[in-house]
């Protein structure tokens, strides 16, 4: 019996040792970092003359966000396969889950997806841990990149928005090219022409006028035959996405900054007296003329409210209004016009932008084929076709923006082209690049909700700045 006990103990000890081994191995192996990272780019392996058929028979996996731009891409994928012999497998996720899926996938260090959609802000998060392939060497290698790709054809500020040196606070346009611009959005005011005509009002030229106008529409529109209509649709959910469209655009037009940068050190500036006053004004505008249940509003709700004639105005991406404005898309189609929105002091039309970009997984085993895909998807031929025959608007290429067929297509939307041309030069990323962007902007959205709920702007924004000062270096 004693022997049994002894044996059992020994067995359990051995079993425990076996169970602990992987734990200890995992400890010893560190944290799955980038031990196998090579300093040289895989782009250097591509030599000889450029050939679209170079990777014939390969399959590239893409992760895509549900979006009209994606629909245009998928509709044209056969052209890519015909041109290259490369098949593309793809998964499409709605935006609510898309970035979590992408983040988890990239952080796992696997190459489940070779290429994916991302925004320039994601470069700030995915770039520092080396999850993104630097596309610069690929672009510079004439064996890997066809002459017709024509880098100079991109709007320069868009290409620069995906370039970064990976240093907090360093301006964009320097360092690696971590993604390629594919489709973008500028943030402007779109409005329902019918309600404007009935109420005898005009688009606002200042922020005070916009607040007044939003309140007027909310008060008077229901009595003028627009049942349940409110003034202005802006995002309000507790998400980073609430800050970057209308709010950041108007914030920047007032000459305000998210952070000040001094010697590489970032100091939160969203609690400066001017920023506090602006934030109070924004919350007041939402209260006076914003949507009911604003704190849950994402771009989907804002956009659909404009289309459903629930919102008199929309201060958000021009594309969000465009998708409602196209013929037959919504009850308000044919009655939506575009305006640059209120100017800041001194007539500033500084506008924040969003760029849907395409990036490559640094761990991809099919980089050459992936690069051919990126080259095709951001190339003139596909983007022109997508802009003219689909809804891939706001071209990232000058040649497409200037194309007569594209202009003809957009001309029927009142003010669209004029607004685009008026703000395009002042449209850029108005945030300071830094890896804690999502924490900072999610907390900022949370603070905005609290101020909307009645808390004092000054103490809330001071608290936000204190919190961020410790996190953002």
């Amino acid at each position: 019996m004693d022997t049994h006990v002894h044996d059992r103990r020994r067995f359990l000890a051995l079993a425990a040792g076996a169970a602990a081994a992987p734990l200890l191995t995992a400890c010893g192996a560190g944290f799955g970092g980038n031990d196998d990272k090579s300093d040289g780019s895989a782009a250097d392996d591509v030599t000889g003359s450029f050939d679209w058929k170079r990777e014939k028979g390969t399959t590239v996996k893409a992760l895509l966000n549900k979006h009209p731009y994606t629909d245009a891409l998928i509709a044209d994928l056969k052209s890519f396969t015909a041109k290259t012999g490369i098949e593309v497998e793809y998964d499409v996720f709605p935006e609510d889950n898309y970035f979590d899926k992408l983040t988890v996938d990239l952080s796992s260090g696997r190459a489940s997806y070779d290429v994916f959609m991302l925004g320039a802000y994601m470069v700030w998060q995915y770039g520092p841990p080396n999850w993104l392939e630097d596309l610069g060497p690929w672009m510079r290698n004439s064996s890997a990149t066809g002459a017709e790709w024509d880098q100079a054809d991109f709007f320069p500020n868009l290409l620069q928005a995906d370039q970064w040196s990976l240093k907090a606070g360093a301006p964009l346009g320097q360092g690696g090219q971590y993604a390629l611009p594919w489709g973008w959005e500028t943030n402007v005011v779109a409005y329902n022409t019918e309600v404007f005509r009935k109420l005898g009002v005009k688009p606002a030229e200042t922020f005070d006028e916009l607040t007044e106008l939003a309140g007027t529409i909310k008060r008077k529109a229901p009595g003028a035959g627009f049942d349940g209509m409110y003034g202005i649709a802006v995002r309000g959910s507790r998400s980073w996405a609430t800050i970057h469209p209308g709010f950041m655009t108007m914030y920047a037009r007032n000459g305000l900054k998210d952070f000040t940068v001094d010697g590489g050190k970032l100091t939160p500036a969203m609690n400066s007296p001017e920023a506090v006053a602006f934030t109070e004004d924004w919350a007041r505008m939402v209260k006076r003329g914003g949507p009911p249940s604003w704190t849950s509003y994402t771009w989907y709700q804002c956009s659909s409210d404009l289309g459903a004639k629930k919102a008199g105005m929309l201060f958000d991406a021009d594309t969000a209004a465009y998708f409602q404005a196209v013929k037959g898309a919504s009850p308000a189609s044919g009655k939506i016009a575009f305006h640059p929105g209120p100017q800041g002091p001194g007539g500033s039309l500084a506008t924040n932008m969003w760029i849907w970009s395409l990036g490559m997984n640094a761990k991809s085993k099919k980089k050459s084929a992936s690069w051919l895909f990126l080259q095709w998807a951001t190339g003139k031929e596909h983007l022109r076709k997508s802009a003219i025959t689909h809804n891939h608007i706001d071209p990232v290429r000058k040649s497409v923006a200037d194309d007569a067929a594209y202009k003809d297509k957009m001309r029927h939307l009142p003010g669209f082209l004029e607004t685009f041309e008026k703000v395009v030069d002042q449209t850029k990323i108005q945030f300071t690049p830094q890896a804690q962007f999502f924490d900072a902007t999610t907390s900022w959205a949370s603070a905005l909700q609290e101020i909307y709920g009645g808390k004092g702007a000054k103490p809330v924004l001071d608290g936000l700045a204190d919190d961020l000062a410790g996190k953002v270096g």
Binding site: H4, D7, R8, F11, A15, A19, P22, L23, A26, C27, G30, F31, G32, G33, N34, D100, T103, V104, S107, Q125, Y126, P128, P129, N130, G228, S237, R238, S239, P291, P292, S293, W294, T295, S296, K310, A435, Q436, F438, D439, T442, A445, S446, A447, Q449, E450, Y452, G453, K455, D467
Partner: protein
């Protein structure tokens, strides 16, 4: 034959051992990671020992989340227990309607909580939601259900109650149906009223079953994520950011892995302690119930 008998206990223990390892390995690894400053921006981290825990406990956000979590868990578990027992008592008086209701009652449990939250989010929408539409004739059509801190928390609890009250009711009903009939017959002969019988007989004997339901619901409510995230995303402000949501934001959204895991370890400790207290209490109540039965 002898070696088979000797080996049998070891063979039989293998599945349990594998299961234990399967549970302990990720748990141990997670615990180990909390001792480092592991994040996306620092994939080769330094050992910081208990710095992450110190940072968690000194964060105002943590105490806010802990408070919201406790409010949510207590509120949801309490409401579900009271309602669940009440529903079980009604259904126990077996009638045709009762038997039909019993079948319908289980429906919310068949819906994923996140789907239930999305359905309720649409129904609570102030301008087009059906709830305000129904309340409009009573002059209450403009309620902003999830736009205020209190409203958001109460709405989240209400959805939890909608989903899980049937669970408590089913357990309580099973308990009621397994109670011995003789004490009730004796009470009836003695002329005891309904309230007296309920207080002195039904409830003491039913408590072990109810407490099992309370333990499950309290534990689950402390760990809630899906319902709140789908309904409010933690807002407005930080008013519904429970510990699980905070951990998710830190670990996944902001990619501060060690810090996020520290939150989950703290939450685990709280749930573990609460479970120990409640289970200990369950033992006492079971003994008392046995005394009443005899």
């Amino acid at each position: 034959m002898g070696w088979r008998i000797t080996l049998r206990p070891y063979v039989l223990i293998v599945p349990a051992l594998l299961l234990t390892c399967g549970i302990l390995y990720p748990f141990g690894l997670g615990l180990y990671y909390t001792l480092f400053d592991f994040s996306a921006s620092k994939p080769q981290p330094d050992m910081v020992r208990f710095e992450n825990y110190r940072a968690v406990f000194t964060q105002e956000a943590f105490w806010n989340s802990a408070w919201v979590t406790v409010l949510y868990a207590v509120g949801a578990a309490l409401a579900e227990t009271v309602l669940g027992v009440a529903v079980a008592l009604l259904l126990h008086r077996s009638t045709l309607i009762g038997r039909v209701l019993e079948k319908i009652l289980i429906l919310p449990l068949m819906i994923a909580p996140v789907i239930a939250a999305i359905i309720w989010k649409l129904m609570l929408q102030p301008s087009v939601g059906v709830v305000n539409h129904l309340l409009r004739p009573f002059g209450l059509g403009g309620v902003q259900w999830t736009d205020t801190p209190t409203g958001a928390l109460l709405s989240s609890i209400a959805v939890d109650v909608w989903v899980y009250t049937p669970f408590v009711a089913i357990l309580a009903l099973a308990g009621l149906r397994s109670l011995p009939t003789s004490p009730f017959e004796a009470a009836a002969v003695d002329g005891a009223g309904w309230w007296y019988t309920f207080r002195r007989l039904t409830l003491p004997m039913l408590w072990p079953y109810v407490l099992v339901a309370v333990i499950f619901r309290f534990m689950d409510s402390l760990k809630v994520f899906d319902i709140i995230y789908a309904l409010t995303e933690g807002g407005p402000g930080d008013s519904t950011v429970v510990l699980q949501i905070r951990a998710y934001l830190e670990a996944i959204r902001f990619q501060r892995y060690s810090f996020g895991i520290s939150y989950t370890i703290v939450l685990w400790a709280v749930v573990y302690l609460a479970a120990m207290v409640l289970v200990k209490h369950l033992g006492k109540i079971q003994r008392k119930a046995a005394e009443v039965t005899t």
